[in-house]
């Protein structure tokens, strides 16, 4: 009788739900001429949802070569994610589990100068809880646990690399248009076999304010955040507390033209001195238009400058121009200056990327794209090379 009741329950739940599935294969060459850093990813997914719950199963196959411009460890793995979400009232419960099976082990540098090791299988269960009273307050909590099998290269000894992660925050939207938030993270890393046990915590106190008396279609928001850290970096130096001030302005010049400007500056408080933390200044503008086909078109132009112990500069253009029906032209351009891990570049290098391609979206859910990019950088002997990214995905409508 119990089995029959259970069966009836399952049948009722299944018939009350909607089903979706997707499949996607992407191939990207890190460089055609400069090394053989080819990345292949394949994703398969299945989703079942109803008004108050959903269940998502995703399987990803990731294969990356190691001969890319940026040294990259070989990674060949199969990853399975099972995630559920249950909603009742303002509450959301979100359990998940991820299993990673290494087909070809990935390398890792072990802490405390224990040399290199190989990452094998890994399991990561997690649980997130949240409660939201829209426009008044939000509470979020999350916990995750990683368990990885690692083999030390020198001793060939097996070790279990575990990590515990907890995070939580409470955000209150004040009646005067701002918000106050308190949040925190606690993270512990353990390798029993190597006698490594380190943890760090961060408590954030943040206040934000969004004045509403600016000209129409302009939103300016300011935020100040103080983060209290405990723990040490890899050299044993205590982590500094950090104060960050942020300013963001969004201006909709017209219905289809938008500017987004951000500034942020941090100060880090070490035990005996105060240092400048990261500075960021960025601008992005986006122009949306209808184009000639059925897909919305847009062009984004942006730039960013950051300063910390390192400097980065970025200028970028990205566009999708609808040509005919589901066919669109893709345009990409990037000028980047920043730190370099490539030998012989003197610590910094520039990257100039120009590319273009085509994307085709069909009504039956079949999407495909191919993009060719030409990249130049101050490397020797090969300073100019080509890259190809291509993919095909199938996103059927609900059944």
């Amino acid at each position: 009788m119990k089995v029959l009741a259970m069966l009836l329950f399952v049948v009722t739940v299944v018939f009350a739900a909607d089903f979706e599935s997707y499949a996607q294969i992407n191939v990207a060459s890190d460089s055609i001429n400069y090394g053989e850093g080819i990345a292949r990813t394949g994703n398969l997914g299945f989703r079942m949802d109803s008004a108050n719950w959903d269940l998502v199963l995703g399987v990803n196959k990731i294969c990356r070569g190691e001969g890319a411009v940026i040294p990259r460890f070989t990674r060949d793995q199969l990853e399975a994610n099972l995630e559920g979400r249950i909603k009742f009232g303002g509450f959301t419960v979100n359990p998940e589990i991820q299993y990673t099976m290494m087909i070809d082990s990935a390398d890792v540098v072990l802490p405390l100068q224990h040399g290199e090791g190989y990452r094998n299988a890994a399991m990561r269960p997690g649980l997130s809880l949240s409660y939201s009273l829209p426009g008044v307050f939000e509470i979020n909590g999350s916990g995750k646990y990683w368990s990885r099998d690692v083999t030390a290269l020198e001793s060939d000894a097996d070790a279990e690399w575990t990590e515990m992660y907890y995070s939580g925050d409470v955000l209150w939207h004040t009646p005067v248009g701002g918000y106050l938030a308190v949040g925190g993270i606690s993270h512990q890393t353990k390798l029993d076999a190597l006698d490594y046990d380190q943890s760090w915590t961060r408590v954030d106190l943040a206040a934000g304010y969004t004045p509403i008396d600016f000209p129409t279609r302009t939103i300016v928001s300011t935020e100040a955040e103080y983060s209290l850290y405990t723990g040490e970096d890899y050299t044993g130096l205590g982590l500094p507390n950090r104060f960050t001030a942020r300013l963001r302005a969004v201006q909709n010049v017209a219905r289809n033209v938008m500017f987004n400007i951000t500034f942020s500056q941090a100060a880090d408080f070490y035990e005996d001195e105060t240092r400048f933390g990261p500075f960021q200044s960025a601008i992005r503008s986006q122009y949306k238009f209808s184009g000639w086909g059925s897909v919305p078109s847009s062009i984004m132009v942006g730039g960013q400058l950051t300063e910390s112990a390192i400097t980065t500069r970025l200028g970028e253009v990205e566009g999708r121009i609808s040509l005919y029906s589901g066919l669109s032209a893709l345009v990409t351009g990037k000028l980047w200056y920043g730190p370099s891990s490539v030998a012989g570049t003197g610590g910094y290098r520039t990257r100039e990327i120009v590319g273009g391609g085509l994307e085709f979206r069909m009504n039956n859910g079949l999407n495909s794209f191919v993009v060719y990019e030409r990249e130049a950088s101050n490397l020797t002997p090969n300073d100019v090379w080509g890259k190809i990214r291509a993919g095909v995905g199938f996103y059927p409508t609900q059944f």
Binding site: R64, I70, P71, R72, F73, D107, V108, V109, P111, R119, K144, W161, Y165, S167, G177, I185, H187, T189, S199, W200, Y209, P211, D213, T222, A224, Y229, G231, D233, Y234, L239, P240, F243, A245, T262, S264, Q265, A266, A267, D268, Y270, E273, T274, R275, F276, G277, P278, Q280, A282, Q304, T306, E307, S308, A309, I310, T312, L314, W336, G338, P339, S341
Partner: protein, 82 residues
């Protein structure tokens, strides 16, 4: 207190904090702009120290393990790490 006065006070407070900073010294603790991070995982893939993870859609740096090699800064397609 008007909204403008509140903005001015916050700006002044920020100026006082930054004026206390010691000369040209810059902190090595990296920062992640969560509004730019798309959770693509490129940073995870290049980190030799397993010091960066994408958690709930955003990259999180483990400062215990980070060696400031800046490979994540180099590969981030969004410029979200600095």
């Amino acid at each position: 207190m008007t909204r403008f006065t509140r903005l001015l006070l916050v700006s002044l407070l920020a100026l006082v904090v930054f004026a206390a900073c010691d000369g040209p010294l810059a902190s090595a603790l990296l920062s992640i702009d969560e509004s730019r991070c798309v959770g693509c995982g490129e940073c995870e893939e290049v980190c030799p120290y397993n010091a960066i993870e994408v958690i709930d859609g955003d990259a999180v740096i483990n400062p215990n393990l980070c060696h400031q090699c800046n490979r994540c800064v180099e590969v981030c397609p969004e410029g979200a790490i600095y």
